[in-house]
């Protein structure tokens, strides 16, 4: 490194999220945070780290365990012009508050003929890999992306986590912000080094609805998101030694979905693998297949492939959980089969 370069400041995804929220809270007094253990604790997965110390209990509000109540209250506050950032601790807990999310947060703008906006962020932890079993390990982004009226963003790294958070808070629509526990860079969880990276201190945005080409390649396109981006990049690096050039598309947003970036890549490589930690059927992998099929199925030199959770709940025992998650080994096998 030469002395003229900007010093590199490396932070975790969790810290990047909190930093994005803090910047918006300083800029806009309408922004506030609500959720379980978001105060002194700083969020169970670090998403509100240090916010309580800076902004106090008036703007960083610990709630009772009443998700229907406080998510609904977020909707009401947003309708009146505030910009709440509300945390649902685990996305798996959606079951106790889904009416507020799908019948209210998602539909009010449409039902009102565009007269009422709901500028709120609902953030929630997703994903497995640490034996938290069937009620605390799901991704479920496909479920929410299926329901009209909610933007859905899913960062895979610290830079995007901050930029997407700022975009989400500034957006006039409800944005579901899903962060993978395994990509937060938490000290108490196994992590990929990609969960700690350089992030500029100043405010910046990452546009919602724009995928990133996380790695360029020519042989195979992996379309993926969240923690699976980190796994896919690891696999891509490893396969260079075997002469396979993998392009990794990080979707970053599911709603809106950047189909152009996907199609451009698939047109180039002719081989596609979609890697998704969500359930396989009726979800993201099928949606990407449909996007390709509707556009031009003759782009594919090899049949479409997908790797996702095989339509079973996430089991507890490590051997069982690893059997159903999209691991590096399985991604590698799929890429090699596409190349065979």
């Amino acid at each position: 490194m030469t002395s003229t370069e900007t010093p590199t400041r490396r932070i975790t995804t969790a810290k990047a999220m909190a930093e994005g929220i803090a910047l918006e809270m300083r800029r806009d007094p309408a922004v506030f945070v609500m959720g379980e253990d978001v105060g002194a604790y700083g969020g169970i997965f670090g998403s509100t780290t240090d916010l309580f110390a800076e902004f106090g209990a008036d703007r960083v509000i610990d709630t009772p365990i009443s998700e229907t109540g406080f998510i609904g209250a977020g909707i009401g506050a947003a309708v009146e012009g505030l910009r709440p950032v509300v945390e649902l601790m685990f996305i798996d807990f959606y079951g106790v508050c889904m009416d507020q999310i799908t019948n209210h947060m998602a539909k009010i703008h449409y039902e009102s003929g565009g007269n009422v906006t709901v500028p709120m962020v609902l953030m929630a932890a997703t994903g497995g890999g640490y034996s938290d079993a069937a009620q605390h390990s799901q991704c479920l982004w496909g479920t929410f992306a299926h329901l009209p009226g909610i933007k859905v963003v899913v960062p895979s790294n610290p830079y995007d986590a901050k930029g997407l958070m700022i975009s989400a808070i500034q957006d006039d629509n409800p944005v579901l912000y899903l962060f993978h526990k395994g990509a937060q860079g938490l000290v108490w969880m196994e992590k990929n080094p990609r969960s700690i990276a350089h992030v500029p201190e100043e405010s910046f945005t990452v546009p919602i609805g724009q995928a990133a080409i996380a790695r360029q390649g020519t042989d195979v396109t992996i379309v993926t998101l969240s923690l699976s981006v980190q796994h896919s990049l690891d696999v891509a690096e490893q396969l260079v030694g075997e002469g396979i050039s993998v392009e990794v598309i990080d979707l970053r947003s599911l709603v809106p979905l950047d189909t152009e970036t996907v199609l451009t890549s698939v047109a180039k490589t002719g081989r596609v693998l979609v890697v998704d930690e969500d359930y396989r059927s009726f979800g993201l992998t099928g949606e990407i297949a449909a996007v390709i099929a509707e556009h031009d199925p003759t782009m594919l030199k090899k049949p479409f492939r997908r790797l996702a959770v095989p339509d079973v709940p996430i089991p507890y025992a490590r051997v069982l959980e690893q059997a159903v998650l999209p691991t590096r080994d399985k991604i590698t096998d799929h890429v090699k089969e596409l190349m065979s």
């Binding site: 379980e36 253990d37 105060g39 002194a40 604790y41 169970i44 610990d62 709630t63 009772p64 365990i65 009443s66 998700e67 229907t68 109540g69 798996d92 807990f93 079951g95 106790v96 890999g129 640490y130 034996s131 938290d132 079993a133 069937a134 009620q135 605390h136 000290v187 108490w188 969880m189 196994e190 095989p310 339509d311 079973v312 709940p313 089991p315 507890y316 025992a317 490590r318 051997v319 069982l320 959980e321 690893q322 059997a323 159903v324």
Partner: protein, 325 residues
Amino acid sequence: MNPLNRLDLYKQMVRIRQYESRILQEYHADKKPAWDIGAGLIPGEMHLSAGQEPSAVGVCANLKQGDAITAPHRPHHFALAHGVDMNAMTAEIYGRDTGLCHGKGGHMHLFDPEHHFSCSGIIAQGYPVACGQALAFKRTGTDHVAVAVAGEGAANQGAFHESLNLAALWKLPVIFVIEDNDWAISVPRSHSTANASNADRASGYGMPGVRVENNDVEAVFEAAGVAIDRARAGGGPSLIEIHTVRLWGHFEGDAQAYRGADLDTLDARDPIPLYAATLAEIGDLSMDQVASIAADAAAEVDAAITFATSSPFPTADDALLHVFA
């Protein structure tokens, strides 16, 4: 009401504490790296019940085979007090094929149909299920009861309030047990609940409610006995709130920085030495008995851990089984 057997209450509390203490050791013993929640012989989140033994022991001493319990994410004390097989439960916590759920459930999702025991990692969601079990008991003409257990934080969930109304409306044989350990993870009760006693909420729904202070196992036993007798006799539901103590973190690895001075008095609030002192004072417990009860508990728990660690793991293909019957 079953006759009060103080020594049995004490033995069961010691047995549970021994279990939780050994699981605590085992949970951390094999963590490599030590910080990794997903590593080790016992991976994942671990919510232990040390300090809350009086609620489980006092309630379950009034139950009989065929009565049901739904427990929350912190379930071990109720499982053991209700007679769930320690070997099979331990094997489940170790993710083994011989476990209650063949390794699929883990410590928050223990299912034992023989003892009508289940638990859930989703706060308050055991309340409606207990109402359903009670409905089944009532419709089939048995005198069995269902006990629904959750923490004071869970009493701010819609499922709790809906269940209280349903149970009162249909006069279901349910006992709602709230373990108030003062903390919903990091949120103290004073920051989560406007009402100081859930017993008052019970009366709002048309059922008797009682709040038991001081983590007193005999007071829990008495209150549960009244409520369970009433339910068995067709008198409908009751609510018992037990002011207890969470001696350890919300989950293992919880640094509890949010807890402040509350941590300083925990040793003095440990219910087991307190109860031992009470029993010794009235001549119901000798020092020899204290030692032998502890030794018996240790032997039973060690045997369960040996059973678990010598049991086979499930195979990867087993992950695809059991989605449908």
